[in-house]
C-alpha cells in the first residue's frame, strides 16, 4: 500500500511553521501573536472585527484570507483541529475596536464549541460578538438540515462579502451578520476526491480510494462523501456536480453567480482548468450568468487530490459588496 510522503521539519510543529510562512508571505501586512498561534492584519480601522479560525492543513484557508477587503484576524489550530479558546480570546482582545466582533468559520463541532467558549468569556469582559458558521457543503447533510452542513471552500465568498461590508461600508455588527448570513444561504459547494490525505504525524492515509475510484461529495478532512464510484470522465463528473449544486439552492436560468473552482491540494492545474471549462459550459447551457470566476487553491486538504466547485448566488447588495477590492494572500481581486 502507498504511504504518505511529506517534506517537513517536525510533524508536531506544522502550524507554527505555517504561521512563520504566512508572516513572510504577507510582506509585513500581517502580525502574529506568537504565543497563541494567532495572526491579524495591521492598520485595522474603526470597524466591526471579523475573526476566523480553524484547523491548519487547509491553506490558504483560514488565515490566508486576512487582508484589505478580507478578514481581520485568525486563530490557527493544529492540523485538522480547531483552535483553543485562549487563541481566539487573546487575538480578539488585541484587535477589536469596541464595535463588536463577527466570528466567521466553518461549521464543525470542535470549532463551534471552542469559539462559543471564547465568545462567552469575551462577553464577560464586555466584548460583544455574533457567530456565523459557514454551511456550504451540500454533501454533508440534506437541505432540510442545512444547519448541520459543514463549511468548506465556499467560506471564501463569505469572507469576501464580510470583509467588504465591514471595512469599506462600515456595516454595524447586526447588519454585517445579516448580510453574511444571506451570503451563506446563497452559497453551495460540492467536492470530489481522487486520493486521500494524511495527518503529518500519521503514516497512514485518512482514507484510501482504489486506483480506479473517485469519491463524490468528499469533506475536507476526508469525511465520507455521497458515493464512491469508478473513475469517470471529467465532463461527466463536473456535470453531476453542477447538477447537484443547481438543484440544491436552486440556481436557475437568469441567475447571476460567482464561481470558484478549488484545488483540494494535489490535483494538476491541467485537470483543474479542464474542470473549469466544463463548469463554464454547464452554466452557459443553463443560462446562468457568471459574474466572476476564480480558479486555484483556496481551501485545500493537505495533499488530497481532487477539487470542489462553489457557487454564490448574487443579489444587488451582495454584488455591490463582491465588486469591492480584496487583497489577501489567498485571493486578490
Amino acid at each position: 500500500m502507498r504511504k504518505p510522503k511529506k517534506l517537513l521539519n517536525d510533524p508536531n510543529n506544522v502550524r507554527r511553521e505555517v504561521m512563520g510562512g504566512l508572516l513572510y508571505a504577507y510582506n509585513g501586512k500581517l502580525e502574529a501573536l506568537e504565543d497563541y498561534c494567532a495572526v491579524y492584519r495591521t492598520n485595522i480601522n474603526e470597524q466591526v472585527i471579523i475573526v476566523s479560525g480553524g484547523g491548519s492543513g487547509h491553506e490558504p484557508t483560514f488565515a490566508g484570507f486576512i487582508g484589505d477587503g478580507g478578514i481581520d484576524a485568525c486563530a490557527l489550530g493544529e492540523v485538522f483541529t480547531s483552535p483553543s479558546p485562549d487563541q481566539i480570546i487573546e487575538v480578539t482582545k488585541l484587535v477589536h475596536k469596541n464595535k463588536g466582533v463577527l466570528f466567521l468559520y466553518g461549521n464543525y463541532s470542535g470549532d463551534g464549541m471552542n469559539f462559543d467558549i471564547a465568545a462567552e468569556i469575551l462577553a464577560e469582559e464586555g466584548i460583544v460578538s455574533k457567530t456565523l458558521r459557514g454551511t456550504d457543503d451540500i454533501a454533508s447533510a440534506p437541505l432540510e438540515r442545512i444547519a448541520d452542513r459543514r463549511g468548506v471552500a465556499g467560506i471564501m465568498f463569505l469572507y469576501k462579502i464580510a470583509g467588504a461590508a465591514a471595512q469599506f461600508k462600515n456595516y454595524d455588527l447586526d447588519s454585517l451578520y445579516s448580510v453574511v448570513k444571506k451570503a451563506n444561504q446563497n452559497t453551495r459547494t460540492i467536492g470530489v476526491a481522487l486520493d486521500g490525505c494524511a495527518l503529518p504525524q500519521s503514516s497512514n492515509f485518512n482514507f484510501e480510494l482504489a486506483d480506479d475510484e473517485i469519491e463524490i461529495g468528499i469533506g475536507i478532512h476526508g469525511e465520507a462523501g455521497l458515493r464512491r464510484q469508478k473513475i469517470d470522465s471529467m465532463d461527466k463528473t463536473v456535470t453531476e456536480m453542477v447538477d447537484r449544486l443547481c438543484a440544491d439552492l436552486p440556481f436557475q436560468q437568469g441567475d447571476k453567480i460567482c464561481v470558484s473552482i478549488n484545488n483540494l491540494g494535489s490535483l494538476s492545474n491541467t485537470e483543474l482548468l479542464i474542470a473549469t471549462k466544463k463548469v463554464g459550459e454547464e452554466l452557459q447551457k443553463r443560462d446562468i450568468t457568471i459574474h466572476h470566476l476564480v480558479t486555484g487553491h483556496f481551501c485545500t486538504s493537505l495533499e488530497m487530490s481532487g477539487f470542489s466547485i462553489s457557487f454564490l448566488k448574487l443579489d444587488p447588495e451582495l454584488q455591490a459588496l463582491y465588486d469591492l477590492p480584496c487583497k489577501t494572500l489567498g485571493w486578490r481581486k
Binding site: E78, T81, D86, G110, I117, S202, A224
Partner: protein
C-alpha cells in the same frame, strides 16, 4: 485520598493516556479525522508537564481538577479539548474546597462534569460520543458513594468501558462518523474509549 495522592494518580493517568495515543489514533482513523489520539496525547502531555512542575500548586482537589481542565482546554483545541476541558473544569468547580477525593466527591465530579459536557456539546447518551462512557460512569458513581474509593473506581471504570463498548452499535450524531451513517456501526467511538481509559488508569493507580 489526599491532594498529593490525587495529583500522583493524575500523573500516572496522564502518562498512560500519552502511551495510549497509537490505540486511540487507529480507532479514530476508522471513523474520525484520525487526530483524536494525537490531541489527547498533546493535552495529557501538557498536563503531565504542568503537574510535574515544582511550582505547580492546587488549593484543593476541586482546584486541581479545574486547573487540569483549563490546561486541556487551552492546549488541545478541537472538540476533545472543549469537551474534556469542560468535564474537568466544571467537575472540579463543583467540588471546590474538597481536601480529599472520596467516592462521594468523585460522584459529584462526574455528575456535574457530564451535565456541563451535555450543555456544551448537546450530546446525550446514545449519540456515540464520550458521553456514553461518562454518563454510565456517573450513574455507577452515584450507586457507589458508600463504597471505599478503590472499589468504587473499579466499578465506575468497568461501567465506563461497557458504555464505550456499547457505542459500537450506535449511529453517530456528531463529527465525521455522522457522515458514515451505518458504516460507523461496529466501531467504538474513540472519545468514549478515552473517557473510559482515564477512569481505568485512575482505578489501576489506586488499586496498585
Amino acid at each position: 485520598m489526599n491532594l498529593a495522592q490525587t495529583q500522583a494518580m493524575i500523573i500516572f493517568t496522564a502518562q498512560k493516556m500519552v502511551e495510549s495515543e497509537p490505540t486511540l489514533t487507529s480507532l479514530d482513523q476508522v471513523i474520525g479525522d484520525g487526530d483524536h489520539g494525537i490531541g489527547m496525547k498533546r493535552g495529557f502531555a501538557t498536563v503531565l508537564k504542568q503537574l510535574q512542575d515544582p511550582t505547580f500548586h492546587a488549593k484543593d482537589i476541586g482546584d486541581l481538577f479545574n486547573q487540569i481542565g483549563t490546561k486541556l482546554m487551552t492546549s488541545m483545541g478541537g472538540a476533545s479539548g472543549a469537551i474534556f476541558g469542560t468535564l474537568f473544569r466544571a467537575g472540579g468547580k463543583s467540588i471546590a474546597g474538597a481536601q480529599t477525593l472520596s467516592s462521594q466527591a468523585l460522584s459529584e465530579f462526574l455528575n456535574n462534569g457530564w451535565q456541563a459536557v451535555h450543555q456544551r456539546g448537546n450530546a446525550k447518551p446514545g449519540d456515540k460520543t464520550m458521553v456514553d462512557a461518562l454518563a454510565a460512569a456517573s450513574q455507577t458513581a452515584q450507586q457507589q458513594i458508600n463504597q471505599p474509593l478503590p472499589l468504587a473506581l473499579k466499578e465506575i471504570a468497568k461501567s465506563a468501558m461497557a458504555g464505550a463498548e456499547q457505542t459500537k452499535n450506535m449511529v453517530a450524531v456528531f463529527g465525521r462518523a455522522k457522515n458514515l451513517g451505518e458504516r460507523a456501526i461496529g466501531h467504538v467511538d474513540p472519545g468514549a474509549v478515552s473517557m473510559a481509559y482515564i477512569l481505568q488508569y485512575m482505578s489501576e493507580y489506586i488499586s496498585q
